[in-house]
């Protein structure tokens, strides 16, 4: 066993040091190296703002009388070779259970502290109109944005939410990334 460990260690050393032992050759050759850069923008599919679900549960009286915030770290992870912005919109005017509706403007979305994505950060009241969540964010790789989803007590204790039949009310929220 000891012999095997020594053999493996020597092999590892040879791998790591091997590049130093390459003998210089007397031939010369020139190679043209082209680096072709294209603009690209990407959204990380591992992030929650990508087919993900954010749930608010209202079960007790206290739930309805308090502001609820759901923090979603790394909601968006963007890589962009140019400055960019992120907008957000709801795809419909209401959260719906199929029959009953809750207006989408009960929900606020804001950038939470902690992410690496800079730019002008806004708090928006959700609507079907595109609104700027992050404006003119500097380019970068794997930039993270942590989001707070918030429903104020004033909304949850109002007829917008209070008194609605029990059920799951859903709506789609779309994040749009575009170059500056």
């Amino acid at each position: 066993m000891k012999k095997q460990i020594i053999t493996a260690t020597l092999a590892l050393g040879a791998i790591l040091l091997g590049t130093n032992n390459v003998k210089a050759q007397n031939h010369t050759a020139t190679t043209t190296v082209n680096i072709i850069l294209s603009d690209v923008i990407s959204i990380d599919a591992g992030s929650v703002a990508n087919g993900g679900i954010v749930d608010f549960n209202y079960v007790t009286a206290a739930d309805y009388n308090s502001t609820k915030t759901v923090n979603v770290p790394e909601s968006l992870i963007v890589t962009s070779t140019k400055n960019f912005d992120v907008k957000v919109k709801a795809d419909g005017a209401s959260f719906t259970d199929g029959t009953n509706n809750i207006p989408v403007n009960v929900l606020n979305i804001k950038a939470a502290t902690g992410g690496s994505m800079a730019g002008t950060q806004n708090t928006i009241e959700l609507s079907t109109t595109d609104q700027v969540l992050i404006g003119n964010a500097p380019l970068g790789s794997a930039l993270t944005l942590d989001l707070d989803y918030e429903i104020l007590a004033a909304k949850s204790s109002s007829a917008d939410i209070l008194g609605k039949p029990a059920g799951t009310y859903t709506q789609t929220v779309t994040y749009t990334a575009t170059a500056l």
Partner: protein, 264 residues
């Protein structure tokens, strides 16, 4: 012995497994040029490096910028300089399987009656379509927010004869509001092409020579448009300062310089 080999494998394979797991679009802007009556094409590459399949819908909107540079969208075909109706793709939806790369051919048919001097634009969106799985994994009671993503691809048409790249500084002023003091630089694109530029601003204390450089701001402007770029000034400034703004335009060594005296 087995443990040692596993350790070696782990050491050598780790850097390879660190890679972005997302959906990417390249390029982020399409610039078409051609003559009226011609059909021109460009390729857009979508790559899915995640382990989930995606279906994206293709749709178009008009857009223009507000004075602060923010893009505002409108229904396609409603703005005067819209080229949304000139655009087409072979499919209205694009399926990008996990690990796959798709190339989407975007064709622009420049109408016979298209202006030979006016730049037109629109935005092509690739919008994630929710799957049944997305819709059914929400909680049993309460509000469920299904989050999706979308890419906006700038599309510009520049007539073949348009080559003039120029910006003009039309005003520099101080704006004081409750939250902060700002220097506002008004800029007009008096050229006839889309112009990307970096706007720099620095304050020089005319008594002490002290220089304060602020972070530059990137802009992109259509011809015949105006934009106001605002720099938030440091707090507690006192004395006489010379404010200097420099606009560096991409793709040229040409620049614009403006100055204004400030007293705080």
């Amino acid at each position: 012995m087995r443990f040692l080999f596993l350790l070696l494998i782990a050491i050598f394979s780790t850097p390879l497994s660190v890679s972005a797991q997302g959906v990417s679009m390249s390029p982020t802007r399409l610039f078409f040029t051609g003559n009226p009556g011609e059909t021109v094409t460009e390729l857009v590459t979508l790559h899915n490096s995640s382990n989930k399949d995606y279906v994206l819908s293709v749709n178009y909107k008009d857009w223009k910028r507000e004075l602060d540079g923010n893009k505002v969208y409108f229904e396609s075909g409603t703005l005067k300089n819209s080229n949304a109706s000139w655009l087409s793709t072979l499919e209205n939806t694009v399926s990008v399987a996990a690990g796959a790369t798709m190339e989407v051919l975007v064709a622009m048919q420049v109408p016979e009656e298209a202006s030979t001097s006016e730049v037109t634009n629109s935005m092509l969106f690739f919008t994630q379509l929710p799957t049944q799985e997305d819709k059914t994994t929400s909680s049993s009671t309460g509000l469920g927010i299904i989050t999706l993503f979308e890419f906006g691809l700038h599309v510009y048409y520049t007539p073949a004869g348009n080559k003039l790249k120029s910006l003009e500084i039309t005003n520099i002023e101080e704006i004081v509001d409750a939250a902060s003091k700002k220097a506002a630089i008004s800029i007009t694109n008096d050229g006839n092409v889309v112009n990307d530029a970096t706007v720099e601003f620095e304050l020089i204390n005319t008594d002490t020579g002290e220089e304060i450089k602020l972070d530059p701001i990137s802009i992109s402007m259509m011809p015949d448009t105006h934009q106001v770029v605002e720099f938030i000034l440091p707090e507690n400034l006192a004395g006489n300062y010379l404010g200097v703004t420099i606009i560096k335009m991409a793709g040229t060594s040409d620049m614009r310089v403006g100055e204004k005296n400030f007293s705080f």
